[in-house]
Every structure is written in structure tokens, then in C-alpha cells.
């Protein structure tokens, strides 16, 4: 069948909840993902989640992923894995290529009444002399290796970036048996939650704030990392260099929304640095400026899994409502509850900026 009422692109937390909410209300849903397993980044998250205990907090990401996949099956979501959505054509046609390996050259075109783009985000790189040496990789790659494939990329690690990703992956590297020599952070203060930082501090990992990487050295692979202190203009201060003997440098320098498909559909975007860069404008139903195309999760601005789960639910409910499967009043009540929870998740000093930025997106619509 090539025609669906809803096609969801991306099976991470937001894609899964969008598909589940819609399918629960009798919408015929196709969920497409490029990976061989659904769940997106959830299967790398072996730690217990923050958030409201009413919604999955205290549960490890991997288990949330398993629960959602089971739920999706129960409500009849059709899941197509190892398929990449490579294009969006006018009239809501999704162009899908088989496999990442280029073996399958088949292209399928699926048509949909509604589309939810839940394509997530990609990691930022930083560039420094020696950065192409083997052994230098993104924190996401490290996390996939240790937690999904159970391969230790190295024994002695330097972590660049002290956001939650850098802190959590450092902790998980130690769990996997590596030694984290240091975490460095260009800003004068630690970027992530104090509790995450404390976990690795208690294990003796030093966190150098106002420090940047100067150079990676090595013959065939990285052997040394040179770091130095930076002044308030981001210039390295002479004679503050430190050298670490490492075999792996992990880069956790933030993420940016993956908006290629959004752009292809000509959805209007706005540049919001707090959310990772260019993001699609959407309304309170998560619908973009292209009628019938919705967005949810990190593609609408980099946040975390809890908010992604809620945004997916919003999109799923809105789709079911607009297709006539859900009474307007009931839908409105559910959406109001979700928005309340999102407001909670975006409160406090860490959420405030995201809350304002998200409101700006909706105002621009």
C-alpha cells in the first residue's frame, strides 16, 4: 500500500509517540526510519531519565524505547525500517530509499494525507589541528559504540564539552571500563546539570572550564591532546597548555536540528540559536506553514527526550483531530494537558530560554 493517512518520518521518541497517538485514534500510520531498529537515540540512553514521574522519569531510556515500540505494535502502526526518506514532493509524497548500504537501489514513493517530520538533530563538529586523526569522534558515536554495540572506542578519553551529553557519555565511558582523563568546557561554567557533573567528579574526573582544545597529536591515531585556557574573547592564553595522553577524543559540542526535509517542503524556518539554529515555524498543533506537514522533537529545536515525547503526542493528537477521528473538544483537552506538561518541563533556569524560544516560534506562525 502506498497511500497512508499519516506518514511519520523518524522513529525516535517524538516520532514514536506521534505514531502511537494517531494510531490509537484509528489513523492508518506508516512509520519510517533509516535505522535497523526503531527508537532513535533512546537505545543509547542507558541512564535513568529526569522529568515527571507521571511520564517515564526514573526509567532508563532503553526501556522507554522498548515500551514505545511495543505500544506502537499494539495500536497497529506499520513500521518500515532500514528506509531513508530522501525527499518530499508537492502533494505530500514521501520519497523513500531502501537501505543505508546502497545495495537496494529501489525508490518507493508513498503518499500521505498528513506527514509528521520527526527527523531529530545532528551533532556539531569542532575543528582543530589534528581533528581528522582516527580516535577523534562525536560523543554520539562513542555512546552508540559503548551502549548499543558494546565496543569500547578507547581506554583513555578526553571529553570536549560539558553539556549533559558530554557529562553523561563520560559517566557511561567509565561504566564501560574506560578512564576519562578530563572534561573540558570553553565556557566559564559547566553546561549541563550539576548532578550529572557531580557523578563524574565523585569518580575523580577533572572538569576544566574556560578551556579549549588546541591540538590533537599522533602518528597513525590520536596519542595526545593539548588543551589550553581561553580568555573572555575565546583566545587561548599562552603558557596555560596541558597535555593529556589519550587514545580517544570525544566531541560533545551540541546539536543542530536536521531540517533538510522541512526545507524541501518549503516550510518557513526561523533562526534561533538557543534551539540549535534554523528551525521550522509551527503552531500549537505542531503544524508547519505547509498545511498537513507537522514537526515534533529535536527537529523543532534541540531539547531532550521528555519534551520530544510530549511534542510527538501533540502532533499525533492534532493529526487524528484534523482527519476527523477525534472530537474537537476531547482533542483540545488532551492538547491543553500536554502543553501544561511542556510548560513544566521548560521551567526553571535550564528551561526558561527554551520556553521563550518555543513561544517565539509559535508567535511567528
Amino acid at each position: 500500500m502506498n497511500r497512508w493517512e499519516l506518514i511519520v518520518i523518524g522513529s525516535g521518541p517524538s516520532g514514536l509517540t506521534a505514531a502511537i497517538e494517531a494510531a490509537k485514534n484509528k489513523v492508518k500510520v506508516l512509520l519510517i526510519d533509516e535505522n535497523i531498529k526503531a527508537g532513535g537515540q533512546l537505545f543509547k540512553q542507558i541512564h535513568k531519565f529526569f522529568g515527571s514521574s507521571a511520564h517515564y522519569s526514573g526509567i532508563r531510556g532503553i526501556n522507554i524505547g522498548e515500551n514505545l515500540i511495543k505500544k506502537a505494535e499494539e495500536v497497529g502502526v506499520k513500521v518500515l525500517l532500514n528506509r531513508i526518506a530522501i525527499g518530499l514532493f508537492k502533494g505530500k509524497k514521501v520519497v523513500v530509499k531502501q537501505g543505508l548500504d546502497n545495495k537496494g537501489k529501489n525508490i518507493d514513493i508513498f503518499e500521505a494525507d498528513k506527514i509528521v517530520i520527526a527527523s531529530g538533530a545532528s551533532e556539531n563538529a569542532i575543528y582543530f589541528p589534528g581533528w581528522t586523526l582516527p580516535g577523534i569522534m562525536s560523543a554520539g558515536a562513542v555512546q552508540t559504540m559503548i551502549n548499543v554495540h558494546r565496543v569500547l572506542p578507547g581506554k583513555k578519553i578526553l571529553m570536549i564539552g560539558s553539556g549533559n551529553v558530554g557529562l553523561i557519555v563520560s559517566y557511561q565511558l567509565i561504566q564501560a571500563g574506560a578512564e576519562v582523563k578530563a572534561v573540558i568546557e570553553a565556557l566559564p561554567k559547566i553546561g549541563g546539570y550539576e548532578v550529572h557533573a557531580d557523578k563524574i567528579k565523585r569518580l575523580g574526573v577533572p572538569i576544566y572550564t574556560s578551556h579549549t582544545i588546541v591540538e590533537a597529536k599522533g602518528n597513525l591515531e590520536v596519542e595526545e591532546a593539548v588543551i589550553a585556557k581561553v580568555d573572555k574573547n575565546w583566545q587561548t592564553i599562552p603558557n596555560t597548555e596541558r597535555i593529556f595522553k589519550v587514545d580517544t577524543i570525544s566531541i560533545a559540542a551540541g546539536l543542530k536540528p536536521l531540517i533538510k526535509l522541512v526545507r524541501m517542503a518549503d516550510c518557513k524556518c526561523i533562526y534561533i540559536p538557543e534551539l540549535g539554529g534554523w528551525v521550522p515555524i509551527h503552531n500549537k498543533n505542531m503544524e508547519t506553514t505547509y498545511s498537513g506537514i507537522y514537526v515534533a522533537g529535536d527537529v523543532t529545536g534541540v531539547e531532550e527526550a521528555n519534551t520530544a515525547l510530549e511534542e510527538g503526542r501533540l502532533a499525533g493528537i492534532a493529526v487524528a483531530e484534523s482527519l476527523g477521528y477525534l472530537d474537537k473538544k476531547i482533542a483540545c483537552n488532551i492538547k491543553t494537558e500536554i502543553w501544561e506538561r511542556l510548560k513544566d518541563l521548560r521551567s526553571g533556569p535550564f528551561g526558561e530560554n527554551r520556553f521563550k524560544a518555543k513561544n517565539k516560534i509559535i508567535r511567528e506562525y
Binding site: F50, G51, E194, D198, R202, G348, P349, F350
Partner: protein
């Protein structure tokens, strides 16, 4: 941070065993509130409130330790024996220490504090792979010890 830690320790309950919640930032998180059977941990609304411990209600049972996603809760007993106190802490590493084992204890910065003896290791299903290890240490070290060295594999 230092100020918060001091404030935390100035308040003791009459039983000399209690949870110490080292969670000082307004982050959206509340599993500890639900985990406590005695209603001793209060967050309320909004979810970003900092958890507050009701000293009178806290029994030092330690259910909150493994339920805190931030691994930020410890249970401290001041009078395990005449000379020893205990600290119970979450420990998510292998190998898991065994009861009776001598371990090196660490402070909040991972620096060596003193030797300690493991007196209890609890790993239940509800702890979901966050075992809780209780170590006996000299009484005057209970406010300092927050970790143990990971045994060599």
C-alpha cells in the same frame, strides 16, 4: 554548592539516620518524591522545585537513593557503632563490592578519604540496576564520603 552542602548537614533528625539530597538546581525532575513511601520528600509544583526533606518523616530507609536519576541522594547514619557511621550510596559499576569487603572511600571530588567496610549491598528489581552500597566509616567522615573506588577488573 559548598554553602548548600553545609546547610544540608546542619539539619539532623533525632534518629541520626537520614537522607541527604544533594540536588541544588531547579531541574524538571520528581521521581524521589514518588519513591518516598513516608512522604518525606516534597517537590510539589512546579516540577522544577528543589526537593525538600521532612526530617521528622525520613526513616533513612534509602528507597530514594536508587530512584534518583541524578544519583544525588545518600543516606547517612551517624551512629552505626560507637565509633562508626555509615553512608549508603548508589553504585552503578562492575564488579559490585561484596559485604565485608574493604574499600577505598572518596569525597565529592573523587579524592581518597579513608578505608571503609562494605556492610550492606542491596540490589532489588525496583532499584532497576542501581545497586545501593552501604559503607561503614569513622563517624567524623560521614559528611565527606560520597563514593568508593571502583574495584579493579
Amino acid at each position: 554548592m559548598e554553602k548548600n552542602i553545609r546547610k544540608n548537614h546542619e539539619q539532623k533528625n533525632h534518629k541520626n539516620i537520614r537522607a541527604i539530597i544533594e540536588c541544588y538546581e531547579e531541574i524538571p525532575c520528581d521521581p524521589c518524591e514518588i519513591a518516598c513511601k513516608y512522604g518525606a520528600i516534597i517537590i510539589g509544583k512546579p516540577i522544577t522545585n528543589i526537593p525538600v526533606l521532612d526530617m521528622e518523616k525520613c526513616t533513612g530507609c534509602g528507597l530514594c537513593i536508587a530512584n534518583c536519576p541524578g544519583l544525588a541522594i545518600f543516606v547517612v547514619c551517624e551512629n552505626y557503632t560507637d565509633t562508626l557511621g555509615t553512608v549508603s550510596l548508589p553504585f552503578e559499576f562492575l564488579p559490585l563490592p561484596k559485604k565485608g569487603q574493604r574499600v577505598k572511600t572518596l569525597n565529592r571530588n573523587g579524592q581518597y578519604v579513608c578505608r571503609g567496610e562494605v556492610v550492606k549491598v542491596i540490589e532489588t528489581k525496583s532499584f532497576d540496576r542501581t545497586p545501593v552500597v552501604t559503607i561503614a566509616i569513622p563517624r567524623n567522615k560521614v559528611d565527606e564520603v560520597r563514593g568508593i573506588e571502583i574495584p579493579k577488573r
